[in-house]
Symmetry: C2
Subunit: 221 residues, 2 copies
DNA sequence: GTTTGTCTGTGACCGGGTCGCATTTCCGCA
DNA sequence: TGCGGAAATGCGACCCGGTCACAGACAAAC
C-alpha cells in the first residue's frame, strides 16, 4: 500500500480539511492504475467518486443509445473532476462516460465519503460546485462549436489546437481518432481532410496528418 | 421606491447574510419591470447581475453569429439565476441571451455587488456555484436531446410536456414559437406537425395545435 | 369590400451523418 | 519472403433536418 500523502495534498480542498477529515479522506482514497483504452466510468460501471489525475489523460464524453459519442472535455495530470461522483450529487443528474486515453494513475475518493465530506465541510461543497461550474463553462463552449460551427471550421480549429498542444505539425492520429475528438464520423473527417489536402492545407499518410499551410487553415476560422 | 424586503427575503442565501451584508444587498438591488418581448440580457446589453424572478417568465438561449437560437431553459416565478452575472464570475466565460416571454418583475442584485458578496461570504459563493451546477445539469439534458434525439421524438416530447404544464390539449402557439422552444426551424416544425396530423396524432388550426392521440405521441418516445 | 401583417404550405437545395462495401497498408509469422 | 488478417482509408448512395425563396390563407382594421 503506497503512501498517498503527496497526492492527497494536491487536492484543491485539502488545506480546508480538519485533521479528522484528512484522516477520513485518507481512509477512503485509493490510487488505482488504469491502462489506456479502459472505461473507468460509465453506464456499465459502478459510481467512481471524486477523482484527481496523477498521470495520464482521460476523455469525458456523452454516449447515446445508438452508440454515438460527443466529447465534452479531457482531463490530464493535475486535473480533478466530480462528474465521476454524479451518482451521489443530487444537483447533477445526467450521465457521462470516461475513457482512458493514456495510461493513468488516478487518485480516487470514494463516492459516499466524498458526499459525506461535502455535506459537512462547506469548503468542499463549494469546491464541488465550483469545479462543476468550470466544466460547465468549458462544455458550453464545445456545445456552441458543435451547434453553430460548420464542420470545416471545427476540424481546422482542432488540427491547429492539437498541433500547438503537441508542438508538431505531424499529427499521429487516425481519421477515427480525430472523428472522436471533434464528435463526428470517420467518413466525414476523411471527406474534409481530402478537401483540405486538395487545397494544399494538409498532407496525409496512413495514421498521420501533416499540417502544410497553417495560415490557410487559420483563415477558415 | 417600493420596499424590496419581501422579495429580498426570498433570496436563497438571504438567511446566510449578516446585517451589514443585508443592508449592502438592499442598497444594490432593484425591481425593474420588463415587458414581454424585451431582451434583458445579451451581447448588446450591459451586465445585469444576479436575478430573482418575482413574476413572469424568461427564456434563456444561445445565439449564434448567424442568428440561430438554441433554447437552454426557462425561468419562472421563484427562480433565480446567476448566468446574467457571468461577466463578473471568472469561472463562467460563455455568453447567453435572456428574453422575456411573459411580462416580468425581476429582483436584480447589481453585478459588482453580487461579486463582492460572493467574495466575502462563502455561503453566497456556494449558492452561486450550486445554482450554476443545477442549470448545468438541466442544460446537459437539453443538449442530449438535441444531439441524439430524432426530431419527431423531440417535438412529440415537447407537445406532451407543454400540454401537461398548461393542463390543456389545445396549445395556443404558432409554429414559429414551437420551433423556438425546440431549437429548430419553423418549416421543420410545420413538416413534422403535418406528418403528425396525417397520422391522426394532432389537429391544427391557425395559431394552435390540438393533441388528439396522446398515447400515440407517447409511443414515439 | 380592401389592405396589411401574421401565419402556414411547399419544393429545391445543402451539409453532414449513416451504411455498405471495396481497397490499401501494415505487420506478424510461417 | 511471401501470405493472411486486421487496421485504416476511399467512396457512392441515401436520409434527416436546416435553409431559402416563394406562394397562398387567414385575421383584424379600416
Amino acid at each position: 500500500m503506497p503512501d498517498l500523502s503527496p497526492y492527497l495534498e494536491k487536492l484543491p480542498y485539502w488545506k480546508d480539511l480538519s485533521a479528522d477529515e484528512r484522516a477520513f479522506v485518507r481512509e477512503n482514497a485509493a490510487l488505482p492504475f488504469y491502462p489506456a483504452g479502459s472505461v473507468i466510468y460509465g453506464s456499465s460501471t459502478a459510481c467512481l467518486g471524486m477523482i484527481y489525475v496523477v498521470r495520464g489523460s482521460i476523455r469525458v464524453f456523452f454516449l447515446s443509445d445508438e452508440g454515438r459519442e460527443v466529447t465534452l472535455f479531457r482531463l490530464s495530470a493535475g486535473d480533478s473532476c466530480v462528474l465521476s461522483a454524479a451518482c451521489v450529487i443530487e444537483e447533477i443528474d445526467f450521465d457521462t462516460q470516461m475513457a482512458v486515453e493514456e495510461d493513468c494513475d488516478v487518485l480516487v475518493v470514494r463516492p459516499n465519503a466524498f458526499a459525506a465530506l461535502a455535506e459537512r465541510n462547506i469548503h468542499v461543497r463549494c469546491y464541488l460546485f465550483e469545479t462543476a461550474t468550470e466544466r460547465f463553462s468549458a462544455v458550453m463552449w464545445v456545445m456552441q462549436q458543435i451547434l453553430f460551427s460548420r464542420f470545416d471550421r471545427r476540424l481546422a480549429s482542432f488540427l491547429l489546437r492539437e498541433s500547438a498542444r503537441l508542438e508538431t505539425d505531424e499529427l499521429r492520429m487516425t481519421h477515427e481518432q480525430i472523428a472522436q475528438q471533434v464528435s463526428s464520423a470517420r467518413e466525414v473527417v476523411a471527406r474534409m481532410l481530402k478537401r483540405f489536402a486538395a487545397e494544399g492545407l494538409v498532407s496525409m499518410s496512413r495514421g498521420q496528418v501533416k499540417i502544410v499551410d497553417r495560415a490557410g487553415l487559420r483563415k477558415l476560422l
